[in-house]
């Protein structure tokens, strides 16, 4: 399982609403009299307003990679813009390291963005009139850092994203993948604690996308940022996430680890997403393990807690009797019937 830190959450989002339309704030206040969130949203829609984010509630733990997943129009881009306050949420609160940033004034917000927050954009958002190094050094320039220092730091982060030697080219001379590396480098220039990524790899070719995903995981392994990552690609979400929030029509429908999403979808909408996902790779032995241990288990293929179903099945291909499962310390914690493993894999094909 993922490591759970005990420190305070990096981001807490509480009852966040984003409604588009005229007099959204009053309309929302009135509509909330309607009771449930669903009826509030319906009341707003009836008035011709658009509830793009509805009562979002979640936490991102420090050092956690939190993925928000949804189809286009589901409100995920709006949500991340609310959290980074690129747009003003209609109601609710967003706390970053305990500080309610919706209350922060313009000055404080600029302060936060200059030191604590970094963001990567889907279409890169690079400045065409600046060189790669100037683009990366831009947030530092905003802080008032000197030219030489900026360049030194820019080269440092460019090295991190494997773009050494391209610092004096212009964005137009780079490929899409290279451009997004620049975007990533720029967002890391100020060494932020919180890292927002808005569909960073969606505009890239599949091959380049996978390569950047791997590099991104490498970078995260060393930097340990608290991340909000937006994507519409379930494979990407499952590959990267510590936890995933699934959004539909502005509503967060399920939050959970990749396994939970794949193996225990809360409704058909979520299940539909994971339909094509090879569950064997995301489900673990304990998902099909029973506590009720048979007295006699002749074979022990060496199944352990945390092993994926796929691996486990490979180990007991020829067995028919239940087999024991041990935890990391070697203690017996349960048993698995090989046929259940196979059944778990079968499920995906229906």
């Amino acid at each position: 399982m993922t490591e759970q830190k005990t420190t305070a959450p990096a981001i807490e989002v509480e009852d966040l609403w984003q409604v588009f339309g005229e007099n959204a704030q009053t309309a929302l206040r009135d509509a909330r009299g309607a009771g449930t969130d669903a009826s509030t949203a319906q009341a707003l829609k009836d008035k011709g307003l658009i509830p793009a984010v509805r009562a979002a509630n979640f936490e991102v733990k420090s050092g956690e990679l939190f993925v928000i997943m949804g189809l286009s129009g589901s409100g995920k881009s709006t949500l991340i813009r609310c959290i980074s306050r690129l747009i003003e949420p209609t109601a609710g609160s967003v706390r970053i390291d305990g500080e309610d940033i919706l209350q922060a004034d313009e000055k404080r917000l600029i302060e936060l963005r200059r030191h604590k927050l970094g963001m990567v954009f889907q279409h890169f958002g690079l400045f065409p009139h600046m060189t790669v190094a100037d683009n990366v050094g831009f947030p530092l320039k905003m802080q008032g850092m000197g030219k030489a220092e900026r360049r030194a730091r820019a080269l440092e982060v460019l090295d991190l994203v494997d773009l050494k030697g391209r610092e004096d080219t212009y964005p137009r001379n780079l490929s899409g993948g290279q451009r997004q590396r620049v975007g990533i480098a720029r967002s890391l220039a100020v060494n932020p604690d919180i890292w927002f990524l808005d569909e960073p790899f969606s505009a890239l070719d599949p091959l380049i996308r996978r390569q950047l995903q791997d590099e991104f995981l490498n970078i995260q392994a060393t930097l340990k940022k608290s991340i909000v990552f937006i994507t519409h690609d379930i494979q990407e979400a499952l590959k990267l996430a510590d936890r995933i929030a699934i959004m539909k029509d502005g509503e967060v429908v399920q939050i959970g680890t990749p396994e939970e999403i794949v193996l225990h979808p809360v409704n058909d909408y979520v299940a539909e997403f994971s339909k094509d996902v090879p569950k064997g790779r995301h489900g673990c032995v304990e998902n099909v393990m029973t506590q009720d241990i048979p007295e006699n288990m002749p074979d022990d293929p060496g199944l352990k807690v945390g092993m994926t179903i796929e691996t486990a099945l490979a180990k007991c291909m020829s067995l028919y009797e239940p087999v024991p499962v041990h935890d990391a310390q070697g203690a017996l914690v349960g048993a698995v019937n090989p046929s259940d493993l196979a059944a778990a894999l079968q499920a995906e094909e229906t």
Binding site: R114, M119, F138
Partner: protein
């Protein structure tokens, strides 16, 4: 990668010269030589008279001979054209005003519902009570005949250029010349060709109004989606069917935009054409009252022109937009009411030519202006004089000549010159140390121009400077082109007058760039400011050129300063619009990236929006320059020297040679400025990867 190598050389040791740096140094060297040895070698300053070609005479002979050949045909054409003119004139002038008012209001209803109907009713209602009904209708009759001519001509040119892509290049050049050639300039040959009479104004306005139509037809046709085109081909249409049944209708919106511009240009020109002698039209009325310094009537007649312009513009612009169909019965009712009143008026013999109900207003305006100038005359004069003595005059003849004891309080001596150059040399020296070689050279050259004066600038500096700009903006080809074009003016003997024109339009453009740039910037920062500035821009852009002369004359009399103000008022609009547009159309993602990087409002504006807007702002500057040149010639009516004056004089004397040559020189100046700025805009666009 080559572009990247040309980029800024920040962070590198040693001085690596950019293209701009080399150009600046070369021009500076030329300037220093001219300044130092100008006294000994006069040919360094003024082009020797011995090498001047009698261009005006040659052009006069050639064009004159050419005109003589075509005169009979032209006269026949003129004779034929007089028929529709008399008919339409008789129709509009003879029709009782209630009928015309009813018709126009009904038309307004059909085009844009109650709002347009109200605009038409009140607009034309104002003309009825202004006392200029007959003059107004005469002007409208001219527009009504010239616009179909211009629209057909323009559409024909546009379709031709589209059907035969090989022609496109040359058609564009012809359109450029038609538009940059000052309006007064082709009045002279037309006068010779068609003889005195309203037909000249008609033809001039058709020539002037055709290019926008042609350009928009071409643009519209080019923008028709390929799939629509292909669908027409696959449906088995002949080329003619494809064009007339599919492509032209598909391009109709763009074509209507062209029609709107065509209408406005025709109106503007019809009014200007009054300078060749009027026949009871509204332009003549303005000119006449202005010459007599009757500001009240001039103001009133000018207002009639503005009202016509606004009504025609808004109604034809509405045609270009998708709009809901209006109830035809309402239109019919309005028309019927108009007709009924007209019949009743005819029976009762009730004032068919409108009322002169506004004479009181005219008088009040006259008195008001009189009182205002009487009580604030000293202030106005002070304003005018300080602008002249401390701004325009030094620019024209240089600080060394303009600084005189009785204006500045001291005389300019050699010591002043020395200190002046020492200060600027120090500034540019500092800039060189910080790596801005091109900027330093530019500052130094600007200082020299200021000391010498634009009108006295030695020709090698100007031609060398312009060629260098061309080289930096685009390359060797442009540099060669502008050198040749300016060389033509140089050897034609019109050089000094060209310098005078250059100085005044240059001063106006500089003022427009500053004021317009600021207003555009302000409008971009504050939507509320735009709410105020926008309608002013709209109005200024609708008003025909001619009308700008009235207010400046009222307050500042005849003179260079009045001309300067009129030019500024007309030419500032594109600068405001393009600056604002450029600044607010930065892609959202770039703004978000800047915000997420912790950029404040001002930082975003300066670091991201402004550089991104640079090409758009340059296009605005380009428009401003062209507008300034167009107005410069009109401003000759109220006292400018230079080419504009020559063109105007030529018109009075029917001197074809002078008129055409001076007009061509003016067009060359405009064309050179246009190419240079376009070159820089293109260079910026490429640098931004757009």
């Amino acid at each position: 990668m080559s572009i990247a190598e040309e980029g800024p050389v920040s962070g590198q040791r040693g001085l690596q010269l950019s293209k701009g740096g080399i150009a600046a140094i070369v021009v500076l060297a030329v300037a220093v030589i001219c300044r130092s040895f100008g006294a000994q070698f006069e040919w360094l300053v003024a082009w020797p008279a011995a090498l001047t070609v009698p261009m005006t005479d040659w052009v006069g002979t050639v064009v004159g001979g050419f005109l003589d050949v075509f005169k009979p045909i032209a006269r026949l054409f003129s004779y034929l054209l007089a028929f529709p003119m008399t008919w339409v004139g008789g129709l509009l002038g003879g029709a009782p005003w209630p009928l015309v008012l009813g018709t126009v209001t009904a038309l307004g209803w059909l085009i844009g519902g109650a709002r347009m109907a109200a605009l038409a009713f009140f607009g034309f209602g104002f003309v009825v009570i202004s006392g200029y009904w007959l003059e107004g209708m005469n002007t409208l009759a001219l527009v009504a005949v010239s616009v179909p001519l211009a629209a057909l001509l323009g559409a024909g040119i546009g379709i031709l250029a589209f059907e035969y892509p090989k022609l496109k290049g040359s058609v564009n050049v012809v359109l450029d010349v038609m538009q940059t050639m000052p309006t007064f300039a082709y009045l002279t040959p037309l006068l010779v060709l068609f003889g005195f009479g309203p037909v000249v104004g008609l033809i001039a306005s058709a020539i002037f109004a055709a290019p926008p139509m042609a350009r928009n037809v071409l643009l519209g046709l080019e923008r028709v989606e390929p799939e629509i085109r292909e669908a027409a081909v696959m449906a088995g249409g002949t080329r003619r069917q494809q064009l007339f049944l599919v492509e032209l209708p598909a391009a109709s919106q763009q074509i209507m935009i062209g029609f709107n511009q065509c209408l406005m240009a025709a109106l503007s020109m019809v009014i200007i054409a009054a300078v060749i002698g009027g026949f009871e039209d509204i332009g003549w009325e303005v000119l006449l009252t202005m010459r007599k310094a009757l500001f009240g009537p001039a103001f009133l007649a000018g207002s009639v022109i503005v009202v016509f312009a606004v009504v025609i513009d808004r109604m034809s612009a509405a045609l270009a937009e998708p709009r809901p169909a209006q109830d035809k019965r309402v239109a019919a009712t309005i028309f019927a009411i108009g007709a009924a009143v007209a019949v009743w008026a005819a029976v009762a013999e009730w004032n068919p030519a409108g009322f002169a109900a506004m004479d009181g207003v005219a008088e009040a305006v006259d008195q008001g202006v009189g009182q205002f100038t009487a009580s604030y005359g000293t202030n106005l004069d002070a304003l005018k004089n300080s602008a002249m003595f401390y701004g325009l005059l030094p620019l024209r003849i240089g600080l060394s000549d303009a600084v005189l004891p009785f204006t500045w309080g001291f005389a300019w001596t050699a010591t002043h010159t020395f200190v002046f150059y020492a200060v600027f040399a120090a500034i540019s020296g500092l800039m060189v140390l910080r790596g801005h070689v091109a900027g330093a050279g530019f500052v130094m050259i600007a200082a020299m121009v200021l000391e010498i004066g634009v009108a006295q600038l030695p020709w090698p500096i100007l031609i060398g400077g312009v060629a260098a700009l061309g080289w930096v903006a685009s390359g060797r080809k442009l540099a060669l082109q502008v050198t040749l074009l300016l060389g033509l003016i140089l050897i034609s003997g019109l050089w000094e007058r060209a310098l005078l024109s250059l100085y005044l339009s240059g001063a106006a453009v500089a003022a427009c760039a500053l004021v317009g740039g600021f207003l555009g910037f302000w409008s971009a920062m504050s939507p509320r400011a735009w709410l105020v500035i926008r309608p002013i821009c709209d109005t200024l852009q609708t008003i025909p050129l001619f009308v700008f002369l009235i207010p400046v004359l009222m307050f500042f009399q005849i003179g260079e300063f009045s001309a300067f103000l009129a030019i500024c008022m007309y030419a500032v609009v594109p600068m405001v619009r393009y600056t604002r547009h450029g600044l607010i159309t930065t892609p959202d993602e770039m703004i978000e990236a800047a915000t997420a990087s912790g950029a404040g409002r001002w930082q975003t504006m300066l670091e991201v929006r402004a550089p991104y807007a640079a090409p758009t702002i340059l296009l605005g500057l380009n428009q401003t320059i062209l507008y300034a040149f167009a107005m410069l010639v009109i401003a000759a009516l109220i006292g400018t020297t230079g080419l504009g004056q020559s063109i105007y004089l030529a018109l009075g004397q029917a001197d074809v040679g002078l008129g055409v040559t001076a007009g061509a020189a003016m067009a060359i100046l405009a064309l050179v400025a246009d190419r240079l700025v376009q070159g820089f805009a293109e260079e910026r666009r490429q640098a931004l990867g757009l």
